[in-house]
């Protein structure tokens, strides 16, 4: 089926990781006429990129304005549906939740976006399934949401339409270095030569940085989501609150996540399980509190995803100085919504060595120079000591 041998030729730019960041970067590069190849250990967007909340409201970020500018154009630019829908409604069940919702709105306002305060009556008109426990909310005339899985596939297809290549089921295992540059990416299916390499490998990005002698502290974690059966479409699908992120899909499903994460270790480069835990029950409770009018609606599936975080929760998007032909891009667990902008930034780092539309100074690796090696333990971000035997099996 796959012409493995035919694809072992490299490209001007080889991207390690077919998640949303790598795919967007590849698409922007292909648009710019650059020969590009994206490698993925499995299927594109199969991990956190294709299974997240789909939010596209990150105006606090250096990429935020570009995110807001690009999303309304993405369907047309890509030629494939992303299910992007504009605007967000924040629902508050308490004064603290209301203060947080307003804080988000005000951050948008300070960037020039409009928002309105909603009282309970207005909220119920817009979101008929909220209950009397809601005290108010916010209507953001900015931000939005999209379908993550459809969007990653859209990037992948659009990239191919522009002549870019995607090689799936191929795990990158090493980087060939010669003369202070990376010359090729080594994989389970051969070696792919490259002039420039982009590392956008999610939780594994740190391992590749290490191969290059760069210290990129990353802690992977598991997070979970639930989805309900479809209910009638609301006027705005991007409704969240009560400690949940998520949306109503265009099909009508309520898809929400939130709550405690579990810090874990990602075994090598393997494709992880997408295991759930009883946390799905707590998610159900939070969702029924947020939408008492939908408390009877059935949960039809749950899933989990792995995301990585840097110590400050901020991305690393940087072109290294040594070797100088490598771009590192990890979004620290907040990559989907920002992907149109981040892909463009990576494209510019590849082409020009710097991002022309945003100042990425705060996202440089250098900020971790003094981060100790045992930072995860110090922060309480380490995986649980493996008492795995007790619950996985064995006779003990």
């Amino acid at each position: 089926m796959m012409s493995a041998m035919a694809t072992t030729r490299g490209a001007a730019v080889v991207i390690v990781g077919g998640g949303v960041t790598g795919l967007s970067a590849g698409w922007w590069l292909a648009r710019a006429g650059v020969e590009v190849l994206v490698l993925d250990k499995g299927i594109v967007g199969w991990e956190a990129s294709g299974r997240n909340g789909g939010g596209a409201t990150h105006v606090y970020s250096p990429f935020g304005l570009e995110e807001q500018r690009l999303w309304p154009q993405m369907d047309e630019l890509l030629g494939y549906p992303t299910e992007y829908q504009p605007f967000r409604i924040g629902v508050a069940l308490s004064e603290t939740q209301l203060a947080l919702a307003r804080r988000w709105a005000e951050i948008g306002e300070s960037r020039g976006f409009r928002w309105e305060s909603l009282d309970r009556r207005q909220l119920k008109e817009l979101v008929p399934i909220v209950g009397d426990n809601a005290i108010g909310g916010t209507y953001l005339h900015f931000g939005g949401h999209a379908n993550p899985q459809r969007t990653v596939q859209a990037y992948a297809w659009a990239l191919q339409d522009l002549g870019g290549r995607i090689v799936q089921h191929t795990t990158a295992t090493g980087l060939t270095q010669r003369g202070g540059r990376v010359t090729a990416v080594e994989t389970t299916r051969g070696t792919f030569g490259a002039d420039v390499v982009v590392i956008a490998a999610g939780p594994q990005t740190g391992a590749f940085a290490e191969m290059l002698g760069a210290w990129l502290p990353l802690a992977p974690a598991r997070v979970e989501m639930i989805a309900t059966e479809p209910i009638p479409l609301m006027r705005v699908g991007g409704v969240a609150g009560n400690g949940l992120y998520g949306r109503q899909t265009l099909r009508g499903n309520l898809v929400y996540g939130g709550g405690p994460h579990e810090w874990i270790n990602v075994p090598d480069m393997a494709t992880p399980e997408h295991a759930n835990t009883p946390l799905v029950r707590n998610l159900a409770r939070r969702l029924a509190e947020l939408f008492p009018g939908a408390a009877h609606v059935r949960v039809i599936r749950a899933w989990s995803g792995l995301v990585e975080n840097t110590p400050d929760g901020l991305p690393v998007v940087e072109r290294l100085t040594r070797p100088d032909n490598v771009v590192i891009a990890t979004m620290s667990s907040v990559g989907f919504g920002l992907s149109p902008a981040v892909g463009r930034a990576v494209c510019e780092l590849v082409q020009h060595g710097r991002c022309q539309f945003a100042d990425l100074g705060a996202l440089a690796l250098a900020r971790f120079a003094d981060t100790p090696r045992d930072w995860r333990e110090r922060a309480g971000w380490a995986a649980a000591p493996t008492a795995v035997g007790a619950a996985v099996g064995g006779d003990g």
Partner: protein
């Protein structure tokens, strides 16, 4: 120096409401045998079965395909409980043996530690009835979950009256609540003939047994007995369509087919009936086994994906056993409950011994494992049916009822119709273009087309989606990765699934995303944190 992250799951993992040495899931012949055997060996056993299933769940074709032909009497829970106990005498024996029998209880999840989960104090099951959900921990688990229905689509199959053999049998025998008078049975193998006989026994008329092949597949004597009771056999026929007023099946139109399943001109016959029952085979119910991480393999002659088990019915997960139909069966297996019984006893004994109980020598000689049969499995037969349905009904027939995805939309990997998407780029994409990037993957295509994403949790379409994709991709089912099962494996309302016993720590430290103060700081005000608050919100219960 070790810090703590108050917003992580550490220290908040749930404690199961109960912990039981051995949980047996499924109170059929196998599960009851397993539970009794282990209880007699002195092991504490909980035996769980979802019957009687509540009406709303039945209406969603979960866990079997009841086809909306459900008599309103199933709403009488007490009466149904009585019938479930009455029709399953083994339950009384289990009670007598000291087994804790939990009826009307769904097992919707199984949670174990693994590569990405390490905080669980013990392996546990998620249980629920129609009012609440809870967790039960276990040392050993025996899955005896039986088998589920296989349906294929034809024009009009969305109407009320399309059942599966499992659903029909449950309504006929356990519930005495089949709301149909005149049944057409599809398939003439052991299951088809058995279904027809059951219907007659319970006073339901059998308007015909339809067989796509040239000959009746089941035992000739059984078929003759049915024919003597007035049952017509339509061999070399398939379903052209189901007809009736809106939403109801009132007749089916059959069409004669040639040896390749192609319709023969002029071969249409309309048969009055109010239900059509697919009885071409069943599939081992491996959902829970998948969730606990037991290794599964595709063996067509055992019914599809089945667990790898050793001679004592132990799966690749040492604490988990699988027995009965969910461990794989042949067509003829359904007629041999003694094998199911023996497997159950064997698993019960093995589980008990692994918990330290003394072996009972009398059972040592039994080797009840079902080996793959030399003959081909049911999938080639299902494919023959599907070929005939496509030849008769075309490609514009829904393969997924919930999401209204047609066969054509599936194999062309079209985005769902409600997106009203049209672009030259999308129109140039189809399964073949996707296959250039890698082998066919049912989960990936599910997400693109939404086939299998609906409230029935793909119970009505999983097999036909697999068959259609394998055929379109020029491959075979065994080469397509198992489409995953996700919890909850029964569709449960939010206000049933939710925990009433949420610990304070869970509520007090809940954040939507990690709670890293600098993660969402405006970049132009470096260092200014947006710290997500974690205070209480008042809980409003749905019935307040």
């Amino acid at each position: 120096m070790r810090g703590t992250d108050p917003r992580s799951i550490a220290g908040k993992a749930p404690t199961p409401e109960r912990h039981v040495a051995l949980v047996v899931v499924g109170a059929g012949v196998t599960g009851i045998a397993a539970a009794i055997e282990a209880a007699r060996a002195g092991i504490e056993v909980m035996l769980i079965d979802e019957h009687p299933i509540d009406n709303d769940m039945m209406a969603m074709d979960a866990p079997l395909c009841f086809g909306q032909r459900i008599d309103p009497s199933v709403r009488n829970r007490a009466l149904m409980l009585e019938r479930v106990v009455e029709t399953n005498p083994g339950l009384a024996s289990a009670y007598e043996a000291g087994v804790d029998v939990q009826l009307g209880t769904y097992v919707w999840g199984a949670f174990v530690n693994g590569p990405t989960v390490q905080e669980l104090p013990a392996p546990m099951l998620g249980l629920a009835d129609d009012r609440r959900s809870w967790l039960v921990g276990y040392d050993r688990l025996i899955v005896a979950a039986g088998a589920r229905d296989v349906l294929l689509g034809f024009p009009g199959w969305e109407r009320a009256g399309t059942l599966g053999a499992g659903g029909a049998a449950a309504l006929l025998v356990r519930y005495r609540a089949l709301a149909a008078r005149r049944l057409v049975v599809l398939g003439s193998g052991a299951l088809g003939l058995q279904t027809a006989a059951l219907a007659l026994e319970h006073g339901v008329e059998v308007a015909g047994v339809v067989e796509v092949g040239a000959r009746v597949r089941g035992h000739a004597a059984t078929a003759t007995a049915l024919a003597e009771r007035g049952v017509s056999f339509y061999t070399a026929h398939t379903i052209h369509e189901a007809r009736g007023r809106t939403g109801e099946i009132e007749s089916v139109v059959l069409v004669a087919v040639d040896g390749t399943g192609k319709p023969i001109r002029g071969g249409l016959k309309e048969i009055a009936c109010d239900a059509v029952c697919w009885a071409i085979g069943l599939v081992p119910s491996v959902e829970l086994l998948h969730l606990v991480g037991a290794r599964l393999r595709f063996v067509s002659s055992l019914g599809g994906w089945v667990p790898e088990v050793d001679a004592r019915m132990r799966t690749s997960v040492p604490t988990v056993f699988a027995a009965g139909d969910c461990a794989g069966f042949h067509d003829g297996r359904l007629a041999t409950p003694d094998v199911a019984h023996a497997q159950g006893r064997w698993a019960g004994l093995a589980a008990a011994e692994s918990l330290g109980a003394r072996a009972r020598s009398e059972t040592q000689h039994e080797v009840p494992v079902v080996s793959p049969a030399p003959d081909t499995g049911p999938h080639a037969y299902w494919q023959a049916w599907l070929d005939s349905l496509i030849a008769a009904g075309g490609w514009e027939v829904n393969v997924c009822q919930c999401e209204e995805v047609t066969r054509r939309e599936l194999v062309e990997t079209k985005p769902p119709r409600y997106l009203k998407w049209d672009s030259p780029q999308m129109n140039a994409r189809r399964l073949a273009t996707l296959l250039r990037d890698g082998p066919v993957n049912q989960d990936q295509i599910k997400r693109l087309t939404r086939a299998g994403m609906g409230p029935c949790q793909s119970r009505r379409c999983r097999e036909q989606v697999g068959l259609l994709l394998a055929q379109a991709a020029g491959t075979t089912l065994d080469r397509i990765p198992l489409p995953t099962f996700r919890p909850p494996i029964r569709p449960l309302p939010l206000n049933v699934l939710w925990p009433a016993d949420e610990p304070a720590a869970m509520r007090d430290t809940w954040v939507s995303w990690f709670g890293i103060p600098t993660q969402f700081s405006p970049h132009w005000t470096a260092g200014m944190a947006v710290d997500e608050p974690t205070a209480h919100a008042r809980l409003i219960l749905s019935d307040e």
